[in-house]
């Protein structure tokens, strides 16, 4: 084996991905070639250096993903349950479409009539204007049982039903439900999801307040990051900037602080000098510290307070 051939094999040899025969040949050559041994040593240093790339913290992210997946799976299962009658209907329709045309016309007209008749009776009245469906009772509790003189039994039952509400995120009823989901303490996945939906409507005052609340109070970093995204276009507003400055100084998650400094730097604001100086002193994240220092340099301000 020549030096050139050996050097070509070194990358895959280091990963243990050459054939047994090629491995023997490489080793035989290396035993008698100082230059190729040096190249191998250099290559190993290179591979070792690649491990300098830091691992990415994912603990919070994983928990958020799991919670969100549970929500998605529940929705998917519900969707399937609701879809099945439709599928059956669609299949019948497909069968019907195979029939001869003259027979299809009167049957089609009858079907349209029936659709109008039953559609009017089964359209839910709740959530005026929005598409909604009511499933059977999910949970029920018997509150009292009484019998009357005729031998009938009267049972008082409390029922909790699941309603499917659909509509545009801007619809007031949908927005109200999303705002309520954004405060759902026990389910971070739901909070991420709802904040994600709300962030596109952050021009509404109620939504903006919910986003600001989530940035400062939500215990889940994924939710705080989503809320920050929603505030992007309002990073110039004073209330938002105050929240961003406080996040930069106090949030425990470096990814959130990185997002905060990115949003703060999008608008030059000399009132930020004190906050940035504080951040430079206490920040342990290289990226955030570097951005703060750069910003201070651009403002011609010193790095520390005296």
């Amino acid at each position: 084996m020549s030096c050139e051939e050996t050097i070509q094999e070194i990358p895959l040899y280091c990963y243990g991905e050459v054939t047994a025969e090629a491995e023997e040949n490489v080793e035989a050559h290396l035993a008698g070639c100082e230059k190729c041994r040096l190249e191998l040593a250099r290559y190993r240093v290179f591979l070792q250096a690649l491990d300098a790339r830091p691992q990415i913290a994912e603990a919070g992210l994983l928990a958020g993903c799991r919670a969100q997946l549970r929500v998605e799976l529940a929705r998917d299962t519900d969707g399937r349950a609701h879809r099945s009658p439709f599928r059956a209907w669609a299949e019948t329709l497909r069968e019907f479409s195979r029939m001869h045309i003259p027979f299809r016309v009167p049957v089609g007209a009858m079907a349209l009539l029936a659709l109008g008749f039953f559609g009017a009776r089964f359209t839910p009245e709740q959530f005026g204007g929005l598409g909604a469906s009511v499933a059977g009772p999910m949970f029920s509790t018997v509150r009292s049982i009484e019998s009357d003189a005729t031998g009938n039994v009267q049972i008082a039952v409390d029922e909790v039903r699941r309603h499917m509400v659909s509509g545009k995120p801007r619809d007031p009823r949908v927005q109200e439900l999303l705002l309520s989901a954004a405060r759902e303490e026990s389910n971070p996945g739901l909070r991420v999801e709802s904040i994600g939906m709300l962030q596109n409507n952050s021009d509404s005052q109620a939504v903006r307040s919910a986003l600001l609340d989530a940035v400062t109070k939500d215990p889940n970093a994924g939710v705080r990051l989503k809320a920050l995204e929603g505030l992007k276009s309002f990073a110039g507003e004073e209330t938002v900037r105050r929240t961003l400055a406080s996040t930069l100084l106090h949030d425990e998650d470096p990814r959130v602080r990185m997002q905060a400094i990115d949003l703060l730097t999008a608008h030059r604001d000399d009132a930020l000098v004190g906050v940035l100086q504080n951040a430079v002193q206490k920040e342990d994240n290289d990226y955030v510290r570097a951005r703060c220092r750069r910003l201070l340099a651009e403002m011609k301000a010193s790095l520390g307070t005296f």
Partner: protein
């Protein structure tokens, strides 16, 4: 290769009753499905995160991959290992994201700062209080350079490199996941390492 151990241990832990779990999940057992997810989801998220360097995109890949598994589990016929089947789904979704990103020419996660190139995403504190600050700075710069060099690879080269170097998977398995031969995966890894070395020449 710091991640290989975690991947292998997850697989070994999941191995003894995995086919029972899969059959139960195919029959509609939600609990079995959740246990399958738990056996693999950490490595799925790590691969997505390392390949895409974006928590948002990694989250999307996680959701899309497991929803695909949920919807298509009935068609899994044990022709290959569940692990290979799942990773095939994950790597394909990641490849789509990387390709879309190339088309959009999205902003890089690596940014130039006064301290040199830095990766926005990788900046999670990993320093011990006694570590040498100069060494830390050097490592930060090197990490930024490595991520810059990875971004210069084609989506396929990058995927093969990540799976081989950082996940410790064998090229034969990587070939299976990407629907190609071991030989093609080998060529891809070779090209990727050559490019990486060229781009990092000044540093290592």
């Amino acid at each position: 290769m710091p991640f290989a151990v975690g991947t292998i241990s997850a697989r070994v832990a999941a191995a003894p009753d995995e086919s029972d779990l899969i059959r139960a999940a195919q029959a509609g057992d939600q609990d079995a499905f959740e246990r399958l997810v738990r056996a693999y989801d950490q490595s799925v998220l790590r691969i997505a995160m390392n390949l895409l360097r974006s928590p948002d995109e990694a989250r999307d890949v996680y959701q899309e991959a497991f929803l695909k598994v949920f919807r298509n589990l009935h068609s899994f016929r044990f022709d290959c290992s569940f692990h290979t089947w799942l990773y095939r789904i994950v790597t394909n979704i990641c490849l789509d994201h990387l390709r879309r990103r190339k088309v959009r020419k999205e902003e890089s996660t690596v940014v130039e700062t006064v301290d040199g190139p830095m990766d926005r995403i990788g900046q999670v504190p990993e320093r011990s209080p006694h570590s040498d600050p100069e060494r830390c700075l050097w490592n930060t710069r090197l990490a930024g350079k490595i991520n810059g060099a990875l971004e210069a690879l084609t989506p396929r080269e990058r995927t093969v490199f990540e799976l081989r170097h950082y996940e410790g998977l064998r090229l034969r398995a990587i070939g299976d996941m990407l629907g190609t031969t071991e030989e093609a995966a080998k060529n891809c890894l070779f090209r990727a390492t050559q490019k990486m070395r060229m781009n990092l020449e000044a540093f290592v």
